[in-house]
Structure formats: structure tokens, C-alpha cells
Amino acid sequence: MTFPASPSPPGRLLKAPENFISRDGVRTVFSQAKAGRRDFMRSAFAAAVAGTASTAALSQANPVPAEGGDPHILNLPAHTTGLGQGVATDGYGAPSKFEKNVQRRQSPGLTQTTQSSVSFAPLQSLFGIVTPNGLHFERHHQGWWDIDPSKHRLMINGSDEQMVKRPMVFTMDELMRMPSVSRFHFIECGANTGMEWGNVAVPTCQYSHGMLSCSEFTGVPLKLLLDMAGVDLKRGRFVLAEGADGSSMTRTIPMEMVESGEVLVAYGQNGEMLRPENGYPLRLVVPGVQGVSWVKYLRRIEVGDMPWATKDEAIHYIDLMPDGRHRQYSSIQECKSVITTPSGGQVLLDKGFYQVTGLAWSGRGKVKRVDVSADGGRSWKPAQLQGPVMDKCLTRFSLPWVWDGKPALLQSRAVDDTGYVQPTYRQLRAVRGTRSIYHNHSIQTWLVQDSGEVKNVQLS
């Protein structure tokens, strides 16, 4: 396997219908195609097509048929020769029907209910850094609701009479009249990659890393609201956020973060309102901190002089260490990255050129660098970062790669602007053991097998 110094001449990528002919057939096709023989290819595809009613299969192949041209070019399709549909057939558009495989999904057996559960974003199928709102990962603790925004209220109060001068109540109308900001941030569940602490447990990056999304959030800095209420900042060093749903989720966040102006009371997500599954009409945005603190259906902010040890700070979202004690109030999502293509469960169709791309992020700041290895970490090459590189936000990286058909161990390693280097499993487990559940930010390894199929593996 080699990395070209500069983008190489485009490698030959035949889009073979690998689901319709045998793997041996594919190999023969490729080897014979290289030798200039087209007849085997034709018959192989013809046989494959005969076995299925799907015409989608044909469009996957790119042979040059005996007729002298591709039927998809020579025979003009209906969409070229007919009248299409009019505007606003769908007042809120939906993805193409051919994109139905791209869905958020539950991991089978992970939870017993759908209301206290999680669905994973299909990272392997996403481009750039923004997660489409309908594919944003979900985590509910007691089911989601679609709340009437005209009846939603936000209250601000103190844990004692002196903590807040004037406890206040805001309507959505009022919050949306306040000066707002829009910022791109990632949100990652503290338990993302948690199933993989001890060993490989899931096949694809959707399940291993999909409790991760990134959006442009719009809202009011919480600082402005606390200033209006008049907070005793000397004593009030902790802030409790509480949701309006059945679980009335509560989490403690430090006042320093609020004072910095980065904590938002947000209603917007990627240009529209938050989706109900993501907390419509109001959620907290706590950049760099695990998703559980981004309280959805936000109804109340309380200022206090000590942390609250809520259920999700004292029973869950605590990290078990080898000495049998749990780390409490662990919140920051440390520097992490994952290659999303090629990734587990995918098949490389042929040798030749590929773009290795993935996502990097850090809860402590900006991504400074990402390195990629194709030999299990023995040698590394710096990847290109796609701008803009933003604070506590996903960053897309990529590196041209020519696959030589031999097994390869693909890894990415991110470094953030504090100088922190994403660790290996060995380094992480040496300190934290294997039973933590939370905050697994190890380097991920994908094994590209000689068959082209990519597997999730861990090295030792």
C-alpha cells in the first residue's frame, strides 16, 4: 500500500455490482478487464442481471458493451424525455428514494425499550461536517415529545434566596427576541464507542462512533439571561439545567463555561428549529461537553454553590476505574477521530485510488492535526484538514490512498491545539482499564482484507 505524494492519476474504480455476482467473479472480471478481455465481463453481468428484477443493478456496472456504448447513455431515460414534477409537491422536501439506506439506527440488543434508548447517526454515509437534522443521533431518557412552543417556558432561579436577585420566566417569543448567535459545534454522547472498551462489539462506524453529530446551533448565550436575573457569581459557581420531559433530566455545569459566553440556550439547528427528537423548542448547548449535559426541552436553570449529584452524575455517566472507584463529573469529550470511509462493513470494489476520509474533534478546542496510518500505526502521514477548522466542532480530514489489494490496517490519530494526542487502546486501558463504559476516545482500527471487505478490529 502506498500514499501518493500528490493526488495520483485517478485510480480505476469499477463500480461492480458486488451483490449480484460472486466475489470470485468480481476478481476474474477485474483481472480479465485489465487484460483487455470484455467478453467474460459481459456474460458475468448478464448472468447476474438475469437473476434479479432490479434495474438498479445494471446502473452499478460500467462495462463498455459490444453495442458500442452504455445503454444508460444510448437509450435516453424517461427523466430526459418526459416532463418532471412541479414545485412544492412536498412543502418540506425529503431525500431521494434511493437514499433510504441512509438512516439512523438502533444497535440490536443494546436497550430493552425505545424510550430510554439511542439511535446512531450513519457516519459512513455523510459528507463534510454537518449532520442533516433528520439523521442527528438520538438519546432519550424517557421518550421524546413534540412540545407546543407557545406554552413552553424557561425559568431561572437560585438554590437560595440570595443566589439570584430576581428569579425570572421567559417565553419562547421573548427568548427569540434576545440577541442571538449561531455557532457550529459537535455533540457526542459520553458513552459513544462505549461498547468497545473491552473488545470489538459492533461492525460499523455507525454503531461504534455514531452517537456523534454536528450542527450550526442558534440561540442566546445563557450569560445574558443570568445577567438579567442578577446572579451572585462569587457563590454561584455551579449551574443546574433541567428538562421539561418526564425524566426532567438534570445536569450540573460549571459557571466558568457560562461566563465564557459559549453556553447557549438554543432553539435553532442548521437553519431551522430544533427537531423534537433533539429537544424542540429549547435545549442547552455546552460545547465540548458530553451530550447528556445538553439538556433537551430545557425548562429551568438553577444557580447554586455545589454540584447536584443527579442521577446522571451519580449512577450513570460515571467512569469505573481499575481501583473500583468511579470518576464523577467527568464531562469533557477529549480529542478523538475516526475514518468514516472506508470503514467497517464496507467493501472496496477494486484496487486503486481511494480517498481516506473521516472526522476529528476535540472538546478542548480546535483540531490541529490528523495523521493517518495504513499499517496499523507503524508509519503515519499527515492528512489534509478541510476548513474552516472551528472550536469544539467536527473537522473533516482526508488523504489520498492507493490500495494495492493487500490487507491494510487503517487508523487515524488526531491532535488538538492543546497538544493532546489521541491515544491507542493500549495507552488508554493502561490508565482506565476496560470497564469505564464512558469516554472511550481511542484510535480506531479498520482492517481492509484482501477481499476488499473492511472489518472493525482492535490491535494489541
Binding site: 421518550g143 425570572m168 418526564g246 472507584r325 468511579h326 508509519s379
Partner: protein
């Protein structure tokens, strides 16, 4: 003069008063017209949190015996009669010993071989249990428990775990003493760098220090862990979980690696067709009303699987009426000791689900 002086004092007072009120509202008027003062009644309605120092704890009490009654009526269907249930949620009770009550450290947390971690093995603060039960339980009717019931249920849980005796009564007056008995009260540490501030922890110092070696790096690139072939399809066919076009396609995991693949593996949307039949509508109702929380489609979760119910009543002429009534009223004893609570769905919805079951759940 005196009257003149009085007048000037009055004027000064007036001016001071105006200044004072201006100062008081200065912060509020940075954005005039936005927000208003919360009334004490409003704050009382929402500010229900209880902190580790028990600030916010309402007065009240409840005995272990009373707690058992509440437990069996409102908690056992999900958490098991003895808090042991692993069927719906992680077990609440188990794994703690008398020694742990003395030391405040749960010894089994140091044993990697011990399966699972119960709530009592982890929770360091009694306020956490009280606060969460009060704000979020029971699961399908949160905030319906009265403070006395919360004290009682908390006492019952502690009794199940051997922390308090059978005749114990928990109240706002002995929460501090009871806190001193929690098995894992000394089991937390905050000497880490993962708190985003200086108020807790070590100020953000990371615990793992890796270096970014670029070549000839020391590694052991041997594959130590991967999914076994029998689990290949455990997450469904991965060919259907990847875009139909692209640099890579999804692997057909319905077939062993290297085997001849199946004929058709095009887009297979997991979502139901928009023209939902009565059956899919009934299934959607079962989902909406949370039936599937306790009943699997095919097999038992807490209650029997829906297929099992459908099979059992397949031949009964009054199956629709019988099942509709059961769906609304709940019951126990037919399928086992764990009761199904009364449900709040409409008669029409209950009938639609009953009809679907009586028809053998046909699509």
C-alpha cells in the same frame, strides 16, 4: 424652615428612591420588555431538586412496609419484585454486602469478573435516589408519587439491599444518618481532568499522554479482537445500511464472507409504507402506547410476546372484546405473577390492537 427642610428631605428621599429602583431594574432593563419575575408559586412548582446536602428535600416519611406496597403496585412491573430485574432496566439492588455498608466502598467493583453493576453498588448519595424517584418515576407516570411514597420506596430499596432493617422508617429527619450507611458512599473520585472548570478535579490535566510518532513507531499490529463470523449479520444486512453508490458499498452480511451473495440487495427501507394497512396501523398504535416496552413482538420481555398472546386466543370467538378489555384494564395471573398495570389508551385504540392480535397479527 422646618417645613422647607421636610420638603427637601422628602424630595431627596424621592430622588434616592428613584435611583434605587432604577438600580434594581438596571440588570433587567438591558433588554427592556423581555422576561418577567417568576412568582414564588411558579418557582415552587418546578424547583423540586434535592441536593447532596438535602437542600430542597420536602418533609415526610415512609416505612419499608409501605414502600413494599408502592413497589409492588408501581415499580415491580419494570424493576422486578426484588429490584433484580434485568429485563427492562439494569438491576437496582444486589452486589452489596454488610462490609460495604461499614466501609462505604463496594468491594465487588474491584472484581472484573462480577457481572453487571446495580444502582446500589454505584450510588454514593442518598439525595440522588430520592430526587430521581420523585422527579422521574414511575416511568410512565413521572411525578405522580407523593413525598411520603418516595421516602417509603427509597426505604424499601435500601432494605432489599440489606442497608436498613425491616422495621425502618426513612424521613427527612434521618436522611443524614441513612446517607452514612450507603454501601458506595466513598466510591467516587474527582481527581481527573474531565471537568470543564476549576471547581472540581485537577484543573483539566489529561490522564493519558500519547506522542505523535510518525515513522518506525513501536506497535504490535496483531489483530487482537474482531467480530466472529457468527455475529456477522447481528446488526442486520450491512449492504442495506450503506448508500447504493459510492467509493465503497456495504458488505452483504446475510452471506458468509466469500460466499456467493444473494440475488437482490437493493434499498430496503426499514420504515413502513406510507399507505399503512390496518395491521401496520395497529402495530404503530402498539408502539405509540408503549406496549412493546413490556411485550416483545415474538417473545416475552416482562409480559408475554404479542405473538404468544395472538396464538393463545386465536380460536376464541370473543377474542377481540376480551383482549380489548385486558389491554385497557391490565391484570395478572394469566401469564405470570408480574401484573400489567391499567393503561390509559382509548377504547378505539385498544380495540384496534385487539383486532390485530385476534387476526393473528397478519400484515
Amino acid at each position: 424652615m422646618s417645613s422647607c427642610r421636610r420638603a427637601s428631605i422628602a424630595a431627596a428621599t424621592l430622588v434616592l428612591g428613584l435611583l434605587a429602583s432604577a438600580a434594581a431594574s438596571a440588570q433587567a432593563t438591558a433588554y427592556p420588555g423581555l422576561g418577567r419575575a417568576a412568582t414564588p408559586k411558579e418557582v415552587q412548582a418546578w424547583d423540586i431538586d434535592v441536593r447532596p446536602d438535602f437542600k430542597g428535600l420536602p418533609k415526610g416519611s415512609g416505612s419499608v412496609a409501605r414502600g413494599q406496597e408502592v413497589w409492588e403496585a408501581k415499580c415491580a412491573s419494570c424493576h422486578g419484585i426484588f429490584g433484580e430485574s434485568n429485563e427492562v432496566f439494569s438491576p437496582l439492588v444486589g452486589g452489596t454486602t454488610k462490609d460495604d455498608v461499614k466501609t462505604g466502598r463496594v468491594a465487588r467493583l474491584t472484581d472484573p469478573a462480577f457481572p453487571g453493576r446495580t444502582t446500589l453498588m454505584k450510588v454514593p448519595t442518598l439525595s440522588t435516589l430520592w430526587d430521581y424517584i420523585y422527579r422521574a418515576m414511575p416511568w410512565n407516570a413521572p411525578k405522580s408519587l407523593q413525598p411520603d411514597e418516595v421516602y417509603a420506596v427509597t426505604a424499601f430499596m435500601l432494605n432489599l439491599g440489606g442497608v436498613v432493617p425491616d422495621d425502618y422508617t426513612l424521613s427527612d429527619r434521618n436522611m443524614v444518618q441513612t446517607q452514612a450507611l450507603l454501601p458506595n458512599r466513598n466510591g467516587m473520585r474527582t481527581d481527573h481532568g474531565l471537568w470543564p472548570g476549576r471547581s472540581i478535579g485537577n484543573g483539566g490535566k489529561p490522564d493519558v499522554k500519547a506522542t505523535a510518532c510518525m515513522k518506525d513507531c513501536a506497535t504490535e499490529p496483531t489483530v487482537a479482537s474482531f467480530l466472529p463470523d457468527f455475529a456477522r449479520n447481528a446488526h442486520g444486512n450491512l449492504a442495506e445500511q450503506n448508500r447504493l453508490v459510492g467509493a465503497q458499498h456495504g458488505a452483504d452480511t446475510t452471506r458468509p464472507p466469500g460466499a456467493a451473495p444473494a440475488a437482490a440487495a437493493a434499498a430496503a427501507p426499514p420504515m413502513a409504507d406510507s399507505k399503512a394497512s390496518a395491521a401496520t396501523a395497529a402495530q404503530a398504535l402498539a408502539r405509540k402506547h408503549n406496549c412493546l416496552t413490556c411485550h416483545g413482538m415474538d417473545s416475552k420481555v416482562v409480559g408475554p410476546g404479542l405473538k404468544e398472546v395472538a396464538t393463545k386466543y386465536a380460536g376464541r370467538s370473543d377474542a377481540v372484546a376480551y383482549l380489548a378489555q385486558k389491554i385497557q384494564a391490565g391484570g395478572s395471573g394469566v401469564w405470570g405473577p408480574i401484573p400489567m398495570p391499567v393503561q390509559t389508551l382509548s377504547a378505539d385504540d385498544a380495540k384496534a390492537i385487539a383486532q390485530w392480535l385476534a387476526d393473528g397479527m397478519k400484515r
